[in-house]
Every structure is written in C-alpha cells, then in structure tokens.
Symmetry: C2
Subunit: 449 residues, 2 copies
C-alpha cells in the first residue's frame, strides 16, 4: 500500500491530475503500466478523475495481439473505456530506427485519441530507472543539457505518475498485490541500446555508486529546470533578434549574447527554418557562432548561413513552389491526395476507430457541403482569439515554427472565402453536433522524407 | 609537429596567453606535462611569453624526489627558472581523501608561487581524456550542471593548453619527438576512483559510442557556458533578494524566480553564510524551496532556515565570539598563533622559498616596526579604490562571501589606526622596496576543521 500512497502524494504535489480530468492510460500489459493502472484506479474516486485505457500494437511481436486482449479484458472487467491502436512499425521504419518510429507512432496515436476523447492527460508508466537510462542514453550520444534533462513528470498533456519510484518498488508492489501482467520478451534483448544500458551498463555503474539511479535522476531534475529557464531566455532572444522578412539574425545583438544563448539561438533559428525534427549538432552550432563578415557555413539539409552585416540563412534549393488550386472536401472514408501539396486527407462520419498520426478536426455534417481545401494566398488572415482584429496566416506559421518551405503547400480548409481550419495550427470554433464528421490530414510519406 | 601547431592555434583562439605574459608550468615529469613544456618552449619566441617551471612533491611515492630532479634538470638545460614545492600529503590528509588534499595543496603552492613571481598564468597539462573522466566522475556523484561543466581551458589564472587534444595524440607526439618523461606508477592503481574510470569505465563506454571522449567533452563545453550564464543570473538574484541585516532572503521575490534560480540562490545563500567549502546537496536545497510560512528546515553545519514572511537563516550555535586584542608583528621567521583568533602568521625577509597555502603580503622592511594585528571593530573602513570616500569592512566581508562566524576573528594588519591589510581580501597599495618582508597568514588546523 505504501507505493500507492507514494504515487498519490506525487500526483498531488506535482499537480499531475486535477479533479474532473479524463486521464488516458497508455497500457502495454507489462508490470509497470499494469501497476500504474491499478494504482490510478485505487484513487479514482478520492481524487475525482475518470480513466480510459489505450493499448498500441506495434506488430513487432506475435504475442502483442494477446497482450492487447489481456489489457482489453482488464478494462472490460473494470468498466473502463478501452481503445486499441496499431501500426506496422517494421514496415514504416523500413530498416531505420525501429525504436524511434515505434515511439513516434505510439505517441501520435495516443495524442490523436486524447484529442478525440476531449481528454486532459495521457499517463505513461515511466519510472525512476527508465529516467536513469534516459540520462545515460543522452550522455552517450553527447547531448547537452537538454538531453540530460531527460523526462519530465509533466510535459504538456503527458504525465508520468511513477517517475519518482523505482522498478524494484513497482515489482514488489505488483507481487504483493497479485497484479497480473504480461512479460515483454523484447525487454531482455540487448539488440536495443536502451536495453543494453539497463542490463549491462547501469549494474556496472552501481559498482562506482550504489545509488546511481537516484544520482542520475537528481541530475535530470536539476538539468530540466535549468534547461527550461535557458530555453525561455533563448526563445525571447530569438524573437528579439530575428528579422522576419530577411530570414536573418541581427548580428550585433547576437554577438552581445552570452555564449550559452548564442548556441541556443543558433539552434532555434535552424529548427524554425528547417522544421521541428532537425537539430544542429554541437560542431554545426559552433560554426554559426564563429562566422565573421563575408564568411559562410554549410548546415545540414542544404541550408547555408552567411554573414553580410547580419547572419542570413538561405536554402541551397529554392523553397517548394507555393501550390495553388482548390479541392472540394469528399466525405467517403478514403484517403485523397492533395495533388502536389504533399498532403492527403480522409473524411468520414466519426466513429471510435483508432487513428494514428497527423491532424484531425471534427465538424458538423451540415456544414461540410460547402468546404474546400486551399493553400495560402498573400494577405490571408483569421479572426484573432480576443475577437479584436485579425491574425495574419504568416504569423501563425511563424509562431508554430513551420519551416518556410512547408508553408506554401499547407492545407487550409475554407468555407466560402473564410478559413475554418489551418491543419493542426488553428481552427474556427464550431458548435457541437449530433452527426459529426471526422476529417484527418497527414503529410504524404514521399514528401515527409 | 601537427600537435604543436594544434596547441598553438588553441592558445591563440582561446586567448590563453598574451605576449609579455610570464607562464608558470606545473610539471610532474609525466608524459603530459613534459609534452606541454616542450610545446610551450617551441612557441615561446613567436608568441612572446616567458616560462618558469614548478614541480610539487606530494611525498606519496619514493620516486617523486627523482622525478623532481629530472624536471629540475630539464629546466636547467633550457635556462628556465625552476621551483620545487612539497607537502607531506599523507600526514595532512590523516586518512581523509588523499587525492583531494593533494590537489588542494598543489594548487595552493602554485598560486602562492605565481603571486610571488608576479606571473600571469599557471599552465597545467589536462587533456581531452582527463576532461571526459572528470565529467563521468561528477556524473557518478550526482552532480548537476556545475559538475558536468568540468574543467575550463581558462579559469582565472589557470590555463589548460592541452584540453583540446587527446592522450593518444600526446603520447604519439612524445614518441615521435623523443620527449623524455617519467612514468607515474600510481596512475595504474585502481585504488583511486578517477583511475578506475580511466582504466575500466571509459573503455566500456566506448563499446556504446566509440567517440565517447569527444561526446563528453562537448557536453562539458555546452554545460560550462550554460552554467556560467545561470551562475551570473543567480548571483544577481541573490544580490537583489538578500536582506543583509537580517540574514534573510526576500521570500516574495524568491517565490517569483524560476525553479532553476531558486535552487541556485538557495545554494549561494548557504555558501555565503557557511563558507566557500560547503554546499547544499540536492535534497537540502529542495527543502529550502518547499518551506511554507512558519516552517523550518535543518541544514548542514547546524544552520536552520525558517520562514516568517521572509526566509531567515540562523546558526544553531551562536557565531564564534569576536576576538579582540592586538599583537605586534614579529619578524623572526617563526609561526605565531594569534591566540583564540584561529589564525597564525609568520614574517621573514622575503626569499624564494616555497610557501603553500594561506595568504601572503610583501611589505617594505622599514614600515614593519609599527605594524599591529587586530580584529574588526564596528564601523571600520578602508579607502575605496576610486579614492572617493571609504568602503566598510563589513561590505568587504560580504562581497568576499566570508561567513559571518569567521568575520570576528579575521586578522587585520594595521599601521597606527589605519588598516593596511585585510588578509587575502584587500590591501593598501605599498611602494616596492629593496628589502621586502614576506608576511604569511593561515588558518590554524584546529579551527579549520
């Protein structure tokens, strides 16, 4: 019972869940997530939240299907809503980093599901030893502070109620309470770096410091708070120094920043231009910092940084053309390609089917007849939130760090001439309805590469 | 020759040495420091600095004496000034951490020697692999960002010209150039944690990432710059929030700080009160952050933090009494105890003898007759640097982070009623002289414990 109380105190202290919240539990069927589910069920009434359960099948092991049924049965007995998602990860990864793709798809599914449910939080069962592994994983890869910060107990809508307790404590509680679970055989495979760290490296480090996991978690805690502060400072500095129309940084202001902020601002500028998945490594960021007038540096993805008074960024290739044209919205449950835009969409009556990845919107059926897909045209805007004046489409792209080359083909759903949805970035408020249509949009594989 | 050029470029890029500088080389006789000495000799004329060499005998190995003679002979042949220091480290450590004491005494000797010579920099031969070991050492101990920042290529007067190159590069260069050196057998002993990290742990980590040393050094570089920025921010925040007369922090201001700065300000306040050698660990700093009104936290060293509107700090024991009395300065080359003050001093005609630790001052012999040791009295002050007005003694203690309990016994050297030296913190300008007297002051062992 002690563990359950520890977790409850952790949830309350860190304000992970509020009364009235709908919490979606990500449950694989393993000991960690089953224990999390049991403990959160225990405090459900007292803390006043409601629960739903999701299982995601990566189609990497034949047993995964049975594990899904096991979790479904657990949910059915406790009268909890259950959702089953899945993707053929091996096919999607095509020989790339399977762990990475599995993680991406699983979280995309959970986030889309949470949005559909109108839920408040996704709870995952990461614990203290997972955290220690994450710190080491990042350290071995040469990550700076941001990597060492590892995982937060609360990261947007993602919460980690078990982050303060150890694997050993969880196993002991599960044994004591007779919690049933399924063993994931792939956890024992040293094929994956994370498993090697858990199985081989951490026990060795315990020879040097028996409390190594606590030490690494304390390091992560310290680094996370410091990383957040530095990230805020860098975000402000970037906003101040960025010259929008020139794709440039004000160099004299940049030169006055402390070294730590110069590095972070260079990284942030790159990510803003090239998209969220890309980062400058250490040496590349340094090369931007050392640029003197008339010099240039080659950055990944064909981007070039050069100094002519200010620090300019220029793509080697011209940005993708701004696609034009209009497509009426078809509601037939099939995926439709938006020609050269690099996107595809699907619209159908809303059901509880799983949907992994991309953006989605629910609209009343009766307004769908007049809806049309378009791409941006200069001067486009949407009503601003405070109902005073309007917000430029361009500013929404900038605020969301959408790289320049993606803006021209970004799908907008319009009714008459008015934008009602900028996929994933903004949407007009629509009234609830009895017959909702679910519209899903995703980037085509070929373009996202 | 490549390594010598790499090191030269590193020195110039990072501005480690200026033309005209006198650089004191710390040379143990091992391959790293001998290679450093050879390379710095090579560029001496071109870069326009002068060199001196120091060797420090820890009296831990019988071979150390021969190694000192070997370094002395190297210096003699190249007509470089040579200085030999030493302490019986095993006796000083009395079963404590020998490595720690050795390091402290060695650096105290080098710094005192540099001051005596009027030199500009102490060069030590730490290289990239030492840096990687230092990062791991701190990580294993659960250090936060400050520890991960590890060693800087320039830290005050200490410089590390080899920090950018690897152990392997140094060994290859030494072999190629036929550089003679002495092997330190204690480097192979796994008795010391650092050696175990070098010999056992780092090769294992290379299984995970063959470029682990570079990765760890990049991490240190990133962390160091970020640590410096955060330290500045915390220093400013402390200055703003500290209420001098109350030994307290303004709580409403403190509560508005980001978490990262709260932790750092709590640590800094503690160190300011308790002295430079002490630090709050992670859990202790957190306990200060979580204090609500009317609560209190016990901190190390008998310090208590409690909240009554603001955050107050109070010693469990009253501070040491403010000692009074006066002692005339005796110039007889013997150590004299300053009664209960907890200090002792020695004064003699200045020679080139080694002196390790403590504070020292050189004054002309003809003013020594009237000099008297005193402790502080309320309202004492000294002329301020700009010659406008005066500076309070109290403010000098605060600026130098001298803990409250040490201020009452801090030795002041006075001529008539005027302070001419606040040991280690401030001194009146004195004219140079042909017959200088060296005054050395140190805290007595019994009190410093």
């Amino acid at each position: 019972m002690d563990l359950a109380k520890t977790v409850k105190a952790y949830i309350q202290e860190r304000e992970l869940i509020k009364a009235g919240d709908l919490v979606l539990l990500a449950v694989s069927g393993g000991v960690d997530s089953m224990t999390m589910a049991h403990i959160l069920l225990l405090w459900q009434k007292e803390l006043g939240y409601t629960l739903a359960i999701a299982n995601f099948n990566h189609h990497l092991r034949p047993e995964a299907e049975e594990e899904g049924r096991f979790v479904a049965e657990f949910a059915r007995r406790r009268r909890l809503p259950f959702f089953l998602g899945g993707e053929d990860i091996a096919a999607l990864a095509r020989g790339g980093n399977i762990q990475e793709v599995a993680r991406r798809e699983r979280y995309a599914y959970l986030r889309a599901l949470l949005a559909r449910l109108g839920g408040d939080a996704i709870a995952v069962a990461h614990h203290r030893d997972d955290q220690a592994e994450t710190v080491l994983l990042h350290l071995l890869r040469g990550s700076g502070l941001t990597g060492l910060a590892a995982m937060a107990e609360k990261d947007g809508k993602l919460i980690r109620p078990l982050l303060g307790v150890s694997r050993e404590q969880i196993a002991a509680y599960a044994a004591e309470q007779g919690i049933e679970y399924r063993e994931d055989a792939s956890n024992a495979s040293v094929k994956y770096l994370r498993n090697r760290i858990r199985i081989e490296l951490l026990p060795r480090l315990a020879d040097y410091n028996p409390r190594i996991a606590e030490s690494l978690c304390a390091t992560a805690d310290i680094c996370r708070a410091e990383d957040e502060l530095l990230d805020d400072l860098a975000e402000n500095a970037l906003a101040e120094l960025w010259i929008n129309d020139d794709n440039a940084l004000n160099k004299s202001g940049f030169d006055q920043l402390p070294l730590a902020l110069q590095r972070r601002v260079a990284r942030k500028a790159f990510t803003m231009i090239m998209g969220d998945q890309r980062q400058l490594d250490f040496a590349q960021a340094e090369s931007v910092l050392r640029l003197r007038d008339e010099q240039e540096a080659q950055l990944p993805g064909g981007l070039k940084a050069y100094v002519r008074g200010n620090i300019y960024f220029a793509a080697a290739k011209p940005p993708l053309p701004s696609y034009t044209g209009a497509y009426p919205l078809l509601i037939d449950g099939l995926w439709h390609r938006l020609a050269d835009w690099g996107w595809e969409y699907r619209a159908a009556e809303k059901q509880d089917a799983a949907y992994a990845g991309g953006f989605s919107l629910v609209v009343p059926a009766d307004i769908c007849a007049g809806l049309t897909w378009r791409t941006r045209q200069s001067g486009m805007s949407v009503p601003s939130a405070g109902k005073k004046g309007r917000r430029k489409l361009k500013d929404i792209f900038i605020d969301n760090h959408i790289p320049v080359h993606q803006r021209g083909g970004w799908p907008l759903l319009t009714a008459a001439e008015e934008i009602i949805w900028i996929c994933g970035l903004w949407q007009k408020e629509v009234r609830p309805t009895l017959k909702p249509i679910l519209i899903q949009v995703r980037i085509c594989d070929k373009i996202s590469e």
